[in-house]
Structure formats: C-alpha cells, structure tokens
Symmetry: D4
C-alpha cells in the first residue's frame, strides 16, 4: 500500500512509473555487491525487467551468479535483464527519432549509454559519431539527417563546441552531454560543461559530465511528446 | 540572396527562422547605442517585429527615440516592438502549456524573461511563484497543476533544490534555470547551477545562470512538438 | 601533571574529556602503522576504551595483532576496542533521539560513521535511509518520525537537496553532511557542500564532506543538552 | 485553509511557526520595493510582528512610509516592527545563554545580525568581540565565560581560525560564521568558510558566509532544547 | 648607455625595439595621471611616436593637455600620438594579411584593439565581424577570405567555439582571444579561455581574456615572418 | 592589569609589543568611522604613535578632525601620527638593508606600503621599481645592489615571475607579494600568488595579495635578526 | 567522393591535408584497442604513414601485432609508422629553425612530443633543456641561439616563468606549453598555464597543459611561413 | 668556464653555491631512473655530497646500485650521500635554532623534510609535534621554547590554523607549510594554504603545499643571518 518498497538500505520507488512514466533504474557505481544483487532481484520480481547503468565487469559477474540471464555491454556499461527475453529485443523498432552525435571516438561510451537508454525506453535512435568541429564538413554533411530527429543528443569532451554548431542548425531541442574526455585544462569535463552552458546558440540544455543516461531519459520524454505517446 | 544581412558590425541571420523555426532575437546587454538602434530598425523592416532581452532603461529610451512604439517591461527587461500592434496582443491565447515555477520572490525577473519569451513564441504559460523547498507543502499543493504542463521551467537561486523535487513529480521535461540570487558561497549562481547539474532526479536539463530566455526557447520547442506544431 | 600525554610523534589530549565532555578519538587515515598501534595501546591504558574512524582493513589487522579484541566495521570503517567488553554493548540503550537520514544507498557508509559515533557517545539513534528528493513521498512518509528527534543528521551526495527539504519540516537542528557520492560536476562532494551551505531553509549547519564523525559528535552535544545530560 | 497565504509574487508560509517553532522572516536584500512593503504589511496583520534581515537604508525608508513604527539598525541591517511595541522590548530578558564571539572589529555587523536574531527569538545573548587568534590571550581570558553558553556563535573573516580554537575549549556546540572580511586570497569569505569546514576541532558546524541570521536561528534551536523550551 | 631610461617610477626599455623589433607600448589602465603623462612625453621624445592601450576618456583628456595632438579611439581604447602626423596615416597600406574575426558584435572593442595594433606595427588587416557558430553559414561564406590570411585572430566570448571551427578550416596559425562578453557561468571570460585552450582543432594558441593587443602583436610577428620582413 | 585594552567593539592588544617586538597596527579598511577615531585616539594615548594601513581619503579626513597632526600618503594609503613629531622623521636613518623591487609601475602602491612599513619599524629601505622580467636586463643591472639586502621584497602582479628570477640571484630571503594588478585570467592576483607559491627558485615565501604591510613586517623581523637588533 | 572516410566509430578527415597542409594525426590516449588498430591500418593505407601521440606501451604492443614496423618512443610517447621506411629518416634535415626549451628535466617528455612533431612535419629543431629561471645565467648564455629560431617553444611546469623571460629576449613568436610537472598548488599544471596566459612579455601564446603536439604543430605553421614553404 | 655543467638533459647549476650560499639539491620525484643516477654521480663528483628530496623506495634502490653508501629516510623521503661519511654526521651540532612544529601526527613527514633540510644546511633544529589548535594548551605549554627560535616552521594540514596562533606568540619569522593532510573540502591542501595566506597574525609567510624543503631552506637563510653566518 506504501508507494515504495522498503528494503532498509534502500526504498525502491514503486510508484515512479505511474508518476513519471519511467520505472526505477539502478545506478550501479559504488553500490556494495550484496545491495546490488538484492536490488536487481527485487526489481526483477516487481517490474519484470531491470536496467542499470555504470556497472563494471565485477558487478556484472556478481549479478550473473544470481540472475544468469543478465546482459552486459562493455562499452556502455549497461547491465540489464528481463523476466522474459524482451530485454534483448526492444532495441530496433522504437518510435519517433532521437539522434546521438559525438565529437570524437573517445566519446562513444557515453553516447552508447544515452542511445541504449533511449532505445530501452522505446525510442528509435540514430548514431552519428566522430563529427567534431575541427573538420566541420563532417557534421554539415549530416545536417539534414540530424534535422529529422525530434531531439538531438550531442556528446563531446575537450572544448565541447559541437553542441553550439548543431544548435544553430536544427529546429528541435539539443541535449548537450559534456564528457570527461580530454586532459590538462579540460578538468575532467568541467571545461566542456562550461562551454555548453555558455552556448551562444539557442535550444541547448545541458546535463552532468558523462551523464549519457540522463540525456537519453530527457530525449525520451521529448520524443514521446512529439509522438503523442505518453509511455 | 546571402542568408544573412551584412551590417559590418553585425550579420543578421535572416535564414534563422527558416532553419530553426525562430527569428533572430537581440541580446541587448553590452551593445553600443548606435548598434542597438540600427539592429532594431533593420530587424523591424525585415521581420515586422523585434524581441530583445536584457535591455536596461537607458537602452529603452534610446531605441524609443527611433521606434516610438517600442514596449519595455522593467521586471523582465524585455524590449519589443512590432510593425503592426501584434506585439502587445499575442500573450494570452497560446498553444499547449508551459509552467514556470520559482523558488522565491527574487527569482521572478528571470522567470518573467522565460515566461514572456515562451508567450512571444506562441505558447500558453502558467506562473507558479515562491514555492521553494523550505516549505515543501507549497509546491506539493500545486503538483497536479504542474504535471499538466508539456514542459516545466524551474527558476531558483541559492541552493536551487526545487528542480530536483519537481523533477521527481512530473512526467515531462524540466528545464532548470539557476539564478544569481543569493550571497556568500552562492558565487553568483554557480552553486545553484552545480546543484541542478548534479540532480539525482531524472528529466532535468540546465541552462546558464539567469538565462530565462534560453529556458523559454527550449520550452517552446518542446511545447510545439507536443502540440504537433512546428511553428 | 601535564594535560597531555607526550609521545613525541603525538601529544594525547588527556584533558579533553574533562574540558569538552568527549575523550580523544583517533583519525586512523594516513597514520603510520607503528604510530597507530602505540596510540591505540596508550589510549586503551588511559581511558579503558578507544574509538577510531576511517580505518582500513590493513589497519584493523595491524592493530589486532597488538589488541586482539579490537572490533572493526567494514561499512562505517570504525575500529574500536574496550578494556572490558563494553564496546560491543552500548549501542542500543542510548538517551534522547538522533535521526540519521540518507539521500541514497551509496551514502550509507558515511551515515553509519555518524550513527555509530552518536551511539558510542551514548545517544539513541534511528536510521532512515534512501529517502532522496527525487521521490519526495518517501521522506514525507517519515516526516513525523523525523520530527521526534532532538537533532537530525542528513547525509547526501550528488546535489544534496535533502537537507533543505528536511530543514523545512522540523523544529530541531539539522546537521547536513555532504558526501563524495556522485560524478562529473559533483567534484568529490563540493557541489553537495555548496548546496547545503546555501540552503534557503533555516536550522541547517554543515560539516565537511564525508565527515560522519563530526556530525555524530555535534548531534551528541545537542542531544545531551536536550536531555539535560552533560555526559 | 491553505497552509500559506497566496500573494502571487509570494506565498507566505503561515504554517511555518506551527511546523518549525519559528515565524516567517523576510530576507530583504534584492526584493523590489512594492513587494517588500506588501509583505511587511501582510505579515504584520498575520503575525502581529515582522522581522527582516539585510535591509538597506532605502528599504527602511520605503517601509517606514507604510509602517511608521518600523525600527532599523544600521549595523545589523535588521528591520523589524510589531503591532504592539514588543519589538523594542524583548531584547534583554531571554532564556538560557548564547555567546557571540568575533575575530575582529569588522566582523561586528554579522555578529549583531546573529545576536539580534537570537534575542528576537527569545534567547539571552552575551557578546565577546575582537578576540582573534593573533592575540590568543584575549580569547583565553574569556574561556570560562564562553564555556557557560549553551551554544557559541563564532564570527570571523580572513583565515577564520578562531572557530577551531574555541571548539577545542568548550563542551557545547559551536556555530561558525565565516565573513567576507578580508582581501586578496580571502575570496569574499570562501577562505574562511573552507577553514571552518576543515576544522580539526570537534563540535563545529558551519553556515554560509555572512549568514548571521542562520547562526542565530540554529543557536536558538539549541538553546531552547537546553532550556527544555520548545518555543 | 644603459639599455633603459631610468624614470624611478618606471624604467623605459629603450633597448626593446632593437632586441624584439617592437618599441615599448604603454598599458594605460591603472597608471596614475602624473606617471602616464611623463611616460607619454618621454617616449614621444625618444621614439617619435607613442602607442597606448586600455586608456579611458579621463586619461585621454589628461594626456591631451600635455600633448594636444594625441588621438583617442573610444571603441578600441587606444591612445596614440606621433611627433609628425604619421600616427593617423599608417593604417591602410600595410604588408601581408592578418584577418580579425569576432563571434558577436559585443566582441568588437577587443577585436579593434587587435586590428589597430597590427596596423600600427605595419600589417594589412581585414575585419570579419559577427560570424559566431550559432549561424555557421556566416563563417563558412567567408572561409576563402579567411584562408588567405597569414594569421587569423579569432575574438569570441560566451563559449568561444568559433576558434575551433576556424582552426579546422585554415592552413595558417589562429590566435584565439577569449573575451569577457557573457554572463553567469562565463565567469568573466574564463569559460571562453578554457574552451579555446582545450580546442580539438590544431593550430590554435591562446592569449589572455580581452588581450587584443597581445594577439595583434603575435599576428604581426607571424605576418612579418611570412613577408620576409623582420621590421 | 589585563594584557589588552577593552573597548568592547575592540580589544587593543597592549601586550603585543612586549610579546612580538611590534606595536599594534590599525587595518583601516572597512572600519566604521566612529570606531576608527576611537582606536586612533586610544592607541595614540597608549603608545605615543599610531600606524594604520589601507586608509582611504575619507578616513584620513575623519581622523584628522580628531587628530589634526595625522599624516596621510595617497600612494601607500598609510595614515600615521605621533604624539611628538617623530612620525615624519624616522624614514631615512634605519638599520640594515631591505630592498623593495616591483615588476611594474602599477605595483608601486603596494611596494610603498611595504617600504614605509619597514621604515616605520626602523629599517633602511632601498626601492628598485619597474624591473619586470620582460626586459630582464633591467633587473640584472641591479643584481649587485639587490644582493646587498638582508631581505628582498618582490612586488609583482600579472604573472608574478620576478620573484623566481630574483630568488635565483640572491643569498638572503625573498618575500614575494603578489598584486591585484592585471586583468582577465589574473583573477585579482590569484594567478600571481600561484606563480609565487609554485616557484622553482629557493628562498621564496609568499604573503597575501597586495599585502605590502605583511611583507614589510617580516622583512623587518629578518633585518633585525641580521643586525643583531631585537627591537 | 566524401571528404572523409566513414568508419562508423570514426570519420577520418581525408580532406585535412588539402585544407590545412597537415594530415590527420591520432590521439591514442583512451582509444579502445580494436579502434586504434583499425585507425592505424586505414591511415597507413590512405596516407602511407601514420603519426600518433600519447600512446602507452600496451598500445604500442597492440598496434605492433598488426603493423610490425611501427616505432615507439618511450619518452615522447609517439607511435609512428610508414609504408616505406621514411618514418625513421625525416628527423634531421628539416627546414628553417624551431627551438624547444624546457625549464627543467621533468619537462622533457612534453618537449620531446613537441620536437618530434615539428620534425615529423619537416622542420629543423634545436633542443635547449633545463634552463629554468632560478639559474637565469643558463638561459641567458643561450640567448643568441634562441634568437635565431623562427619560433621558440617554451615548455615549463611549476610556476612556468621561463616563457616570460624568453619572450622578452626574442623577435619571433614564443609558444608556451605549461606542464603538469609540480605538486601542491601547481594543480596539475593550471598554475603554470595561468602564469603564461598572464605574461607581461609580448609575443607569447599558450596551448593546453602538456600539449607538446599542439605546440609543435603551430611552430611548424610559423616556420613554414618564415621559409616561404606552405607544405 | 661556463657556470653550469652541461648534461644535455640537465644543466647543473655549479655556480649556485657561490651565488646563493647553497649547493644544488635534487628534486627526485618524476625523474627518470637513468637521469637520476647520472645526476647523483655528477653532483657527488663535483660537490662531494648530494642531497635529494621526494625520493621513493624504488629510486633509493636504483641509486644505491650506483652509489652504495647512499642513505634513505622513509619518513622524510630524503636520499643523501657524501664522498666522505659526513652525510650521516652533521645532524646534531648545528648553529642557531630553528623550531619545527606540526598540527598533527600525519604532518610529520613534511616536517621531517624541513627539519632534515635545515640540519643538512648546518642549523640546529628542535621538533615540537602534534600541537594543533583543538587542544590549545599543548602549544601554549611550549610557547617559551618556541619563542627561542630564530625562525619557526609551522607544518599543518586540514584548516592550518596553527600558524596564526604561533604567529601571535613569537618575535621572529614564522614559515607556514600547508600540508595535503585532510579530506573533502581540504582540496589536497589548498584550504590550509588559503588559511595561512589570509592569516590575521603578522610575521607569517607561506610556501607551497607539502614543501618542507622550501621551508627548511628559508629558515636556514634566516638562521644564518641571525648567527652572523653567511654559510
């Protein structure tokens, strides 16, 4: 009858899907092994499927001992499972269109976290990688494709200038994701974050450094609105 | 035939409305008087209307000598005019719904910049002010109203915690606007910006400190998508 | 006759309990092995019990060779011992009430440091974990319980907004403990610290990042005052 | 029947005193004149008295035209009034004891904000000013007096070291208030804030830079608990 | 015979032109009136001309009383004079080509400081203003012109992304000048500086915020090398 | 009998000269007029002379109404007086040798604060101004003179590199004083402070930004030791 | 026909050499093994040679399995190969002159990255190492040699003062490279970066911390201009 | 005949002792093994002894293979050797008096670096450890001893308040050494550095975080001046 599931070390927000249209997702990083396993098992019972981000290999192996069918992607660090085998199926036939761009190759893990999140929540996703501004013809050659999306996710580290360029080209919202890719004065992604927050282009909003999941979530919200689908 | 209007000190982006669905808007702050007047006159000729943000009283008076019908709002600092008198009319019959919330009373100028921007671009706007988290019953009493919006703009200074609470209550995207309201360790709004960027709630994206215009712009994009209206 | 015990590499503050009502406590982190063992032995002789924080497993094993009965908690990192076996007993029958809340599951180690500290110094402690603001109904469902405490300790990382919400609900002081839980712009807990320092709610004071011990200490001072017990 | 008083630009938290034991207080800085006057009038009607902080001379004069009996203190910047004349009376016969110390003479305005706040809320206050650590005999000569307080407020700018010294001398909680007094690398009080947050002494918690009001509020909470008085 | 001219409050580096190919230039900002006048007079005697940057109107008027022919540009804040009337002449017939671009209109004062510096030292300068990345077609339409320069100076505030785009288009060095144009998280130009320092494009080096003079100086060095002209 | 003079808003440290060899000095900045006058009068009675730093013109005029003989230096901002007329005399016949160097002309006010402080406390001072590293021959031409000092004070803003060069040339201690001279990324002197703290040269210690007084004080301590004079 | 080579995870900028005079270079740090190998193979096919920076030993060994002739320098971390054996030959007979100076011995790896880059792109390079300002006679003894270069690269950590001294000695541009060499307040090279950005000397521009490659690239551009050679 | 010994990767400053009274010292951290060994051997030949700081165990073992008599102290990380066996002897019979104090036990390694440096350069050193301000009676009980020193070195981490207290007690200079001891908002020692730079006490100068060597060097300079001994 309570709107959450009391586990003492955690209170699973069982009301969340009804309230927000999205089920609870697990942020694996830093969780103790015994807690993580219990949470995966409980959510699998409650929801029939579980989606977790920032899992490392050790956590994958730990959860696997309890839930043999759990699936792990080494690039995106996503660890997911489903009571039936739907987890592996719902990635290609989504609704609407979300496009995920990266500045460089090193930004791909964060972009994949975003893309897989959006796919998991039912969106169709297109990936356009390595189109950073130092070779501006690359992103311009994709401009028409990018303009078709209901929402564009731009993932970039170092100086993060790609978001401003894309923001000036499109009609729909741009979610900018700074990454920790870089060195020296990139300060772990703070420079890219500042670039994006100060963008002279309109239509750009920003999420935390490396927060691919957050970008995929908001893009899903926007894509659903554009498709007239609430969830 | 060029896609911009060359004024030497400025290149007005006449292609913008076609490309992005929004006309060029003037950021007045720091512009020299003679430049500002020329830009307002040129845009008025080109577009039939002009919308500018962050104008001060002196700039209003300066532009007024050239364009007598220009309208100025002291709270939002918006300076706008129209060839016909539409500028004063299009504020109430907008489409969809965008809700603008503030943490406190001192955040209202930024909220009004956001609200008037969204109204200018054709959206319906509801204002819910002074619902900061230190009296949480205030925002909770408005939760149903807030949930109806296609997009919620949350404007807050000091610690900026309101965005996280609202993010957990709604289904649609939340645009968080940190403000420079505060003192001491608020560091001109950087603390509120960091709070919002680090939010544990999903569905929150962030714009620059005091950037009400940017929030109103993105909210318009989302609201248009939700209404199936491109512009 | 001196008010401290001269060990050359350390001067144990033997006057402290008389002056402040609290015996000297050992901050284990970064202490050399030989120093740590000597300090534990000396304090055990002087005070009949020792309480240390931030011990790692290696330090536990090192001290154990000298003091076999030493007890270690892997979650809270507390390493304690007693001449008699009171160390293991005094955790449940304390005076007054201190409540320790966390935003998430990952904040539990810091919360446990706070809770065990308060229990060690004689207070009764209630734990309410994983009630972060993104599911505000969780903390609201516990509001009456939280209001009963003489002092509330709020432990939260990421954006640290929980302190402001609880501060607005209760009559008694709130000690806010930012944690290093988070990533990207959380900057190792500095963002949460700034959020808490800038809180718009009243009745909130802040200690250092991850300083569960410090929060447990102050909560004990307040709880003792409320109980009319000096120590 | 709502628990707040809807003024549209503000929502006065009329439930606050019942919930927290303290009435709503006005943070005057940055409020527009017309808003400020309306808030003072409404609160005076509701509560019979109003207490505001960080008022400037212009605001005093503005409010005075509407509420002639309003009282202003140029040092503490407090602007208060009462339906009867109690505002001027309740400053000396308070309960318990709160002691307010400053490092230097320039810290006095913040200290007075703290002291007057605590007195307004019913506490007895003792002031010990200009006892900074560069002449350590000054604070030591007052040690016994300081130890008598239920709560000590330490107000200091520059390097803010006074809090640590007092923290080591007393049994009851110390509220540290960093001030913006200083120059160069004091960075507007951030250095003093960091000093206090990192204090090696126990029993110290910190509020925002120059936040005398916040310190006075928490000290009142603690003093009431010590006196067995809830409000 | 010393290589400097001893004025006690200053030591004019009379050897500089021989050593570096450039005469001493006066940084006017913050200099006391009497010092400024004496320096202008002494340099005019020594070198036959004087070039100063960051002069305000008051300083212009002060120097004018001593040197009536001094010339002041309100936009660039450059204050210069010559024994003969060459100061007003050498602006159009320079060698080589240096191109100065700005992101926006508000960056023009810094760009003019750079352009006039380069012209004063004998270079030919082309100005291309208001070509920020949010309307990328503007800078692309000028790409061929920009590529002709021996050195490109890119002046931009806010997020400063223009430097990276231009860096990817040209063969010759790009000098990036961050400006203090912006608000909120632009932190007085630090964000733009960080963007430029972290640029993913090659061939970009950076000078201090608003340092138009420094950029004009280096561009002159490079332009001279390209023209085979040492000075 | 107490070791300080209780003035309530201040506690003058009358024991200081005996304890440290230096009388109390007044930091005027930010002191209220009535406090400043009382402090000057009291110290003049106690010590027969008063020395204050960072006084502005208004403060000079205020103190002058009470103490007509007070002397003010507009460059160094020092405000001093003496019961007899010794204040104006003791500037030239000091002991030992302290040399004060500046990087540029704009650093002179801070250098004069240092130099006058050292002279007031009885040292002989030599001034060598405008010898910044961009014309390294200037400081090298003075190397022998600089080496004669018992202590060298190096005052520099912008990048503050002069301290490292001088540190490598001399045998005796160098006190480095960063100044707030600069713009952009100089961040009010923090950059120069960091340069000096990170110096690769030995024998350099640093005081706060613009703290000429502090440097003059330490140089006096060292100079006295070198002269075998305690005070 | 596209101007890039689509590899999905990367888009190799095959147009770059034509557009900028420089072929694509690989930034190895953080690239996944399988991506790195594919990029090296593809570039080797396209360009006949590959040049990569910031490779670690593991990456060298990985690439070596696919391209046995690849060459690795442990100091500079450069990993290069050529279809013919030209990679090992073109280091000594370059055009013009670029001089690379370091402050200390620990700066050599960054300096070597710069020097080898410049050599790879066809320049003649002279190395002058360990001439930091704390022994100023060392750099002065090399002044004539340094003055001969078309461009000077100055590599320095800690306080980074060497750039300012050299800037004052030479006629041609100085590229300053801050390094992460240092500890404490050097903050990973940020202090040196700030020093260099704030330099009082003219002719200095700055690249990112440890960015030897970027410095070598710009120096090549300048050196080519000076030699009348475009590539 | 040159004043340095050219080793290509290093230029040993053989003139240093004559110029500054101190021989060259080796900063071992980050030096490559082959460089380190060559430098130790060359300096041993030139000077008859070598003194190096921040050596790790691996470096000790590496140098030992070439110079079997080299001595290593694991606490201070000092690695020294002498042609004769003087290295091990000159620690107790020094001139004058330098006192080294620490706030806590964890500051001892830095303090030992300072103390051994001062002893190596011929000073007499007294150690007073663990006298932090949270138990102020400890440092006060040593006040007379501390006052006897010609120079006091204060080593403290966390909030670093000890320097201010000692500065107010003594007549001679205090060298403050912030340490990286602490956690959370101590930011690796930056907080302690800021505390010390902003000290309200006079006579305090500051060196870099953990720079025990630098403090020992300056203290030696001062101690020599006080003893009338130049070296």
């Amino acid at each position: 009858m309570d709107k959450y599931d009391e586990m003492h070390f955690a209170k699973l927000d069982t009301d969340r899907e009804k309230r927000t249209g999205f089920p609870e997702v697990v942020f694996c990083e830093g969780k103790r092994d015994e807690y993580l396993v219990q949470i995966y098992k409980r959510l699998l019972e409650n929801d029939g499927r579980v989606f977790g981000t920032r899992a490392n290999l050790h956590q994958y192996e730990t959860v696997k001992t309890a839930i043999p069918g759990v699936q792990y992607n080494e690039v995106s660090k996503i660890l997911k499972c489903a009571a039936d085998d739907s987890a592996s199926k719902n990635t290609s036939e989504g609704i609407g269109l979300i496009t995920v761009c990266t500045g460089g190759t090193a930004d791909i893990p964060v972009a994949e976290e975003a893309a897989e999140t959006a796919e998991y929540f039912g969106g169709r996703v297109k990936r356009i990688y390595d189109v950073g501004v130092s070779g501006i013809h690359r992103v311009l050659s994709k401009a028409e494709e990018i303009r078709e999306a209901n929402c564009v996710i731009v993932v970039a580290g170092m100086e993060g200038a790609l978001a401003s360029v894309i923001g000036g080209l499109v009609e729909n919202p741009v979610i900018a994701v700074p990454t920790s890719v870089g060195y020296g004065a990139s300060m772990g992604g703070l420079s890219a974050l500042l670039t994006m927050i100060n963008s002279c282009a309109n239509g750009i909003t920003v999420v935390n450094i490396d927060n691919g999941y957050g970008a995929g979530y908001v893009a899903t919200q926007i894509n659903r609105l554009a498709c007239g689908s609430k969830n």
